[in-house]
């Protein structure tokens, strides 16, 4: 190929790349949805294979371990049933008191069940794709959770799928409160974390916070994206920096093994 033809090819290529780079966010989002749906045939099996590989690396359990785990789970189930009965009583009492005070009953949001179809193949962002999109009522910024706790928020919606930005991503910011204290802070992820045990940062706490290991961290409801009271994780450690305090938080949900999630529709009550 002559140098002139090579130059023409390069110039044409650069012009096409430049055109693509100048596309509006709306066009980019549409293109992204299109690409995600094009790889959807792999996605369903892909996430299953990934989960199995993760589970395999977690280690196989022998019969004795399984028996012990089963006994523990039974005990926990009994405990939770007892707790649930107790809480039911509190709930009824709370409702009566609220009625007496003419409080509006706390709304319960509609949950849309979804399945994780694909994990992001890159290295610096923590996102997953779910098998629900516009057609199922999913919109941008809807919170996503599992029965264990908060997972993330919807960042981009396609017709039949959506992308979820996980709480372990560096750009995820959630206003949070800590159980049993008046402390408020912002929970965010990190760009480079141990993928096996991702840790979240809880920043902008007071220096006197003195948080203890195991304290629960919930969403504060400030910011309008995440409703109040969603469990984010548990405090792992607390350190004092120059101007504020900072805690490391272990996410409540296992972000490596999430399979079934719920998307919270804040505008529609159950």
């Amino acid at each position: 190929m002559s140098p002139r033809a090579q130059l023409t090819a390069l110039v044409t290529f650069m012009a096409m790349a430049g055109l693509f780079m100048m596309a509006s966010p709306r066009t980019m989002k549409r293109l992204q949805s299109f690409v995600l749906e094009a790889v959807a045939p792999f996605a369903a099996t892909g996430s299953g294979v990934q989960r199995q590989m993760w589970a395999f690396t977690e280690g196989l359990k022998n019969l004795e371990q399984l028996e012990a785990e089963n006994a523990q789970l039974h005990e926990r189930l009994r405990l939770l049933e007892a707790e649930n009965q107790l809480l039911q009583g509190f709930f009824e009492e709370n409702s009566r008191l609220r009625q007496a005070l003419e409080y509006k009953e706390r709304s319960t949001f509609r949950l849309i069940a979804a399945r994780v179809e694909m994990r992001e193949p890159g290295l610096w962002w923590s996102t997953v794709s779910i098998n629900r999109g516009k057609r199922h009522g999913i919109r941008e910024n809807m919170p996503v959770l599992t029965e264990q706790g908060l997972v993330g928020r919807v960042s981009n919606v396609g017709e039949i799928s959506a992308k979820v930005l996980l709480i372990s991503d560096e750009t995820s910011k959630i206003s949070a409160i800590v159980e049993g204290t008046t402390e408020r802070g912002v929970v965010s992820g990190e760009r480079v974390v141990d993928t096996k045990n991702p840790v979240l940062r809880l920043e902008y706490l007071s220096k006197q916070a003195n948080l203890q290991r195991g304290q629960k961290v919930y969403s504060s409801g400030v910011g309008g994206v995440f409703p109040y009271g969603l469990l984010i994780g548990h405090v792992d450690s607390f350190t004092v920096r120059g101007l504020d305090g900072r805690a490391e938080v272990l996410p409540a949900a296992d972000l490596n093994l999430i399979e079934n999630v719920f998307v919270v529709d804040p505008d529609e009550e159950q």
Binding site: M1, A5, Q6, A9, L10, F13, M14, M16, A17, G18, F20, M21, A23, P25, M28, K29, L31, Q32, V35, L36, V39, P41, F42, A43, T45, G46, V49, Q50, M53, W54, T57, M118, R119, E120, P121, G122, L123, W124, W125, T127, E140, S155, N156, K163, L165, D169, E170, T171, R191, V192, V193, D194, T195, K196, N256
Partner: protein, 188 residues
């Protein structure tokens, strides 16, 4: 050559899908295998400039759209930069086809590893540039392990990719090998 182009296009699509199935290696700093990069290096070396650039455009576009988060304000980093990256790789690998045809699988593996590591390193530097004020970069051993581990893992799977692509090349009538002169052409 046209048949090889379309076969490579299909293989690239499969590589995208397989890439999503392989989880990050937690024992290796969260490094990943990037089969797409390995296949692309083969394609860029085996094909002439025009089809290589076409593949570079598609691969860069798909990679960016699959990995970079986009919200209503725009993308996290320059969407489309990978198109230029793969374009430059395609341009630089022109003329590398003869070594592929001669069976130099180790050369393909080395280049694939370098291309994968360099891509994730440039991606990291771009994020650092965009977010340097709010999130200053922390250059930890884990970071280096992730960047160079990705190249190493890609290098390790590349001989397998090379083997399958040489089979595909054989199926397409050996267009890459036919470019060699008869005295340097491998026997198999």
């Amino acid at each position: 050559m046209i048949r090889l182009f379309f076969v490579l296009l299909i293989v690239l699509y499969l590589a995208v899908g397989i890439g999503t199935m392989i989880p990050p290696a937690a024992w290796f700093g969260g490094a990943r295998v990037l089969p797409l990069h390995s296949v692309f290096v083969f394609a860029a070396a085996a094909l002439p400039l025009y089809p290589s650039l076409m593949l570079a455009f598609l691969v860069g576009l798909v990679w960016d759209l699959m990995t970079i988060p986009i919200d209503s304000t725009g993308s996290a980093i320059f969407l489309g930069w990978s198109v230029i990256y793969f374009g430059i790789v395609a341009f630089l690998l022109q003329g590398f086809g003869s070594s592929i045809a001669q069976g130099r699988w180790e050369a393909h593996a080395m280049v694939a590893g370098i291309v994968a590591s360099l891509h994730v390193l440039l991606e990291f530097l771009q994020i650092t540039l965009v977010r340097s004020v709010e999130a200053p970069p922390e250059f930890t051993p884990l970071l280096y392990l992730r960047i160079f581990g990705t190249g190493s893992l890609t290098l390790l799977v590349s001989p397998l990719v090379y083997y399958f692509l040489m089979l595909a090349e054989h199926f397409c009538g050996r267009p890459v090998r036919s470019q060699l002169d008869p005295y340097t052409r491998p026997l198999l």
